[in-house]
Amino acid sequence: MARKSMATKTRAPSTARQKAPRRRATAKSMASQQREISVSEFFTKNRHLLGFDSPTKALLTTIKEAVDNSLDACEEAGILPDLEVAIEPAGGDRFRVVVTDNGPGILKGQIPKIFGKLLYGSKFHRLRQSRGQQGIGISAAGMYGQLTTGKPIVIESRTSKRRPAHRYELVIDTRKNEPVVKKDTTVDWSAAHGTRVEIELEGVYRGGRHGVETYLRQTVLANPHVEIAFRPPGTTEADEPVLFQRASKVLPVEAHEIQPHPYGVEIGLLLRMLKETRATTLKSFFQTEFSRVGPTLARRIAEGSGLTSRTSPRRVSPERAELLLAVIRKSRIPAPPMDCLSPIGEERLLESLEEQVAAEYYDAVTRSPAVYRGNPFQVEVGLAYGGELGADDLATVCRFANRVPLLYQQGACALTKAVLQTNWRSYGTQQSRGALPSGPLLLMVHIASVWVPFTSESKESVAGYDEIIKELKLALQHVGRKLGAHLKRAAKARDSERKRQYIEKYIPHIGIALREILDLSERQEERVVRTLTGTLERSRKM
């Protein structure tokens, strides 16, 4: 590498000598090229950041974003979600994706912004566990469709029986990041409320580990209260859809919104918060904008940085803000409240595994909440073993973040790493060095958090914070230990059964031999066999 750059360097002067150095651009000419980049434009060029890097993935991501939105809306409204996902071939390599839910519906005025503007949403500014985070997903999917087929997104939504269902056809002005309504009509709907999203896009439909069906099955696995009817391409209205049935009618606990925890704040965010707050004193700023900060602590933070509790937040200089942060880091502050989390729960996990996976042994554990960088998170692991699971394959690891299945980038994910770092051999399963355990094993690994640290915006893998890995490993070890005990018990039972059969097989021959040698009667022979069987079976128990 170094040698290569040297080589080009030595060659460079000779060409420079031939041509007199010339200013290629001036500040002025450069300024004429400099202009604002719209978010939509940026993502048009960097579609892989959002998970649209291949046609297969694009189709999956589109469905995923629509399903995520539907489920979030249903849960927030307290409705048991019933979804229908249909993929219809639309000629060539085009597909029409239609996702219909029974959610609360969307107000007419909000529809264009939600579906036709990137970074518009309800979830970005709140600290609360939800599937969507940034407000990019569904509009990006629409934009991808628009880019590859030129077709608008079609949204139908109804909010109540008393109102009509609206139908919008939207395109996004990628320059301005603004929705453009192409058509606005009302349509007939049989359901009282719900939303239907239709996006046409170029894609490839695939089965298998990264396929849509796997995604939907895993979605229902992590959301046992959800029911999804799936119509894969090539099926007609008349065909029965593939039904992923709900295992439970209990809605997840509602997650509450919380303020940011002081430990999780960085300098940029702190400066913005200082600027935007409505509080007039530092003391009330800390008390209202953060969780777990009381009057004493607020005063101590302010005074610790050479300010007073009555300083106006807007007057705090960036240097002082750094000091504030330093004091925060040194203070002992209780962990953030945990009601912002809504784990699946051990009971639901077990119900779900038993419904969806044909195995012999099930277990699940939900750890107590923990904190990374001021963000509460909670880890859950579900385990299924034996039965119809492939005995010769590597274990299947189903990863979930806030109940959303993660299908791509398994190797880069902290959830996978935790599984790999666990020593499964001590739990009676086989495991090659640095590999997943092998055997009829399925693992569900779930992290729930107000802010899941994804490694990229396409939300495919979780970053490996030490606190997260530690919690994951504790959960995995917990179910692993119990699996080990189970396997040991099973092996023992098998062993004693084998021994029993062995005894029954050969003892009659001792009887035969003794009868032949000693001319015993059948009754005498039978007595020998019976007594000996009893003696051996008793000795086996010792």
Partner: protein
């Protein structure tokens, strides 16, 4: 529980049917008779055996293998079975005591001249793990009793096939059945022929200055077999040699490992020029072969010289087994050894002395030699043998009998053997 019992019973009756089905009619009739009848038959058989003994009066007292009468073998089998049954009915786990059949359980006594058992025994307790072997051992005993009662015999291979009637108890390979058979043999301290089992292998070949006196099986007429009159062939040692008598004027017996060397010596009538008896061992000598040489050497007071390949197998397996017996059948060594045997060659020293072509020692050879130095009581007793083996390991080569052909095909007859025979005192013990 009731169901289980029924199942067991069904298995039992089935196997009875099949096992009796294969035995000859007369056996079935005999089995139906009581133990008393068997005992009544016994003296008759014992008398027959005694008659045999009379025909070979020259065999010295104590050198005869114990030939317990058929009734005695049956009695021993029954006693053992009865003790097993008693323990079972007393709700204790039955056990059988077997002598340990390995070199570690023998001691070499130069005065008696063979490996004697040290008397260490292993106890086979009937547990879940041993129930199969235990059942097989008992069934083998039952089969043996049947053979003795009906005055029949079975080869080791036949016994293996008979076991195919024993359902789950059957042997999968013959070595398994051989081991169990040898266990039974050792358990009762008898020769397997007394249990009705005969070996497959032939005894060995004899040529030279010897007349073997045998009898016609049918008529009882005396048969005089002149071993000089087999031309390029040889007399084949029978499986049982106790009834044979010998007439010879030979000076010594030469036991030869390979058939090839034996052929050469027969072809050129070495026995005539050297006035000796040639015996081909064919590898490790069979019991019959060992017994034949022993009886012949005892009866005619002949020295025995052994001529084998110059490798650890020739020394510690072939020669040692012939001379002092084996660890495996230690209970019978007393009768199946030839204590008067001396080692003619090929010795490690011969390699240099006769400038013989060699092959490098294989790993197994070296292992065998080291093992003999460490564990073989015979080698450990004789310094001369330790020196020879150590020399061989140091030289790292082995030599075959046929290597003498380097100096001419008949070098062995014209040079090697005469030179060796001129100094028999130098033979290894």
């Amino acid at each position: 529980m009731a169901k289980k019992k029924k199942a067991a019973k069904r298995v039992a009756t089935q196997s009875t049917r099949s096992s009796t089905g294969t035995t000859p009619r007369k056996t079935r009739a005999k089995k139906a008779t009581s133990k008393k009848k068997a005992a009544r038959d016994a003296p008759r058989k014992a008398a027959v055996k005694k008659g045999n003994k009379k025909r070979s009066p020259r065999a010295g007292k104590g050198t005869q293998p114990p030939v317990p009468g058929a009734w005695k073998v049956i009695q021993r089998i029954s006693t053992e079975a009865e003790s097993v049954r008693k323990k079972i009915l007393a709700k204790r786990t039955p056990t059988m005591q077997f002598p340990v059949r390995s070199l570690s359980n023998v001691v070499y006594r130069p005065t008696s001249g063979f490996f004697e058992m040290k008397g260490r025994t292993k106890e086979r307790t009937l547990t879940v793990g041993t129930v199969k072997t235990f059942a097989q051992t008992l069934r083998m005993m039952a089969f043996s009793k049947e053979l003795v009662e009906s005055d029949d015999i079975a080869t080791k291979r036949e016994a293996y096939y008979v076991s195919k009637n024993w359902q789950e108890c059957r042997f999968n390979e013959q070595p398994e059945s051989d081991t169990v058979m040898e266990d039974v043999e050792a358990l009762f301290g008898v020769n397997r022929e007394q249990l009705g089992f005969i070996p497959e292998e032939k005894g060995g070949d004899v040529a030279g200055e010897l007349v073997v006196v045998d009898h016609d099986r049918e008529t009882g007429e005396e048969l005089r077999i002149d071993c000089t009159r087999f031309g390029s062939g040889a007399y084949s040692i029978p499986i049982s040699v106790e009834q044979l008598r010998f007439e010879t004027k030979a000076r010594f017996i030469l036991a030869i490992e390979t058939a090839g060397m034996f052929q050469r010596l027969v072809k050129h009538a070495y026995w005539r020029s050297a006035n000796c008896i040639l015996v081909s061992l064919g590898g490790v000598p069979t019991r019959a072969c060992r017994r034949f040489i022993r009886r012949l050497a005892d009866a005619k007071k002949l020295p025995v010289y052994v001529f084998v390949d110059g490798d650890p197998y020739g020394y510690s397996n072939i020669y040692r087994t012939l001379k002092v017996g084996s660890g495996n059948a230690a209970h019978m060594n007393e009768f199946f050894c030839v204590p008067q045997a001396r080692f003619l060659g090929v010795t490690p020293q011969d390699i240099e002395e006769y400038d013989l072509p060699t092959h490098p020692l294989k790993d197994v050879d070296i292992k065998r030699a080291k093992d003999a130095l460490k564990n073989d009581p015979f080698v450990r007793h004789h310094k001369a043998w330790q020196k020879a083996l150590q020399l061989q390991i140091k030289m790292g080569v082995r030599v075959e009998q046929q290597a003498l052909a380097k100096h001419g095909l008949n070098y062995v007859i014209d040079e090697y053997l005469p030179r060796k025979m001129a100094n028999t005192g130098a033979f290894l013990p």
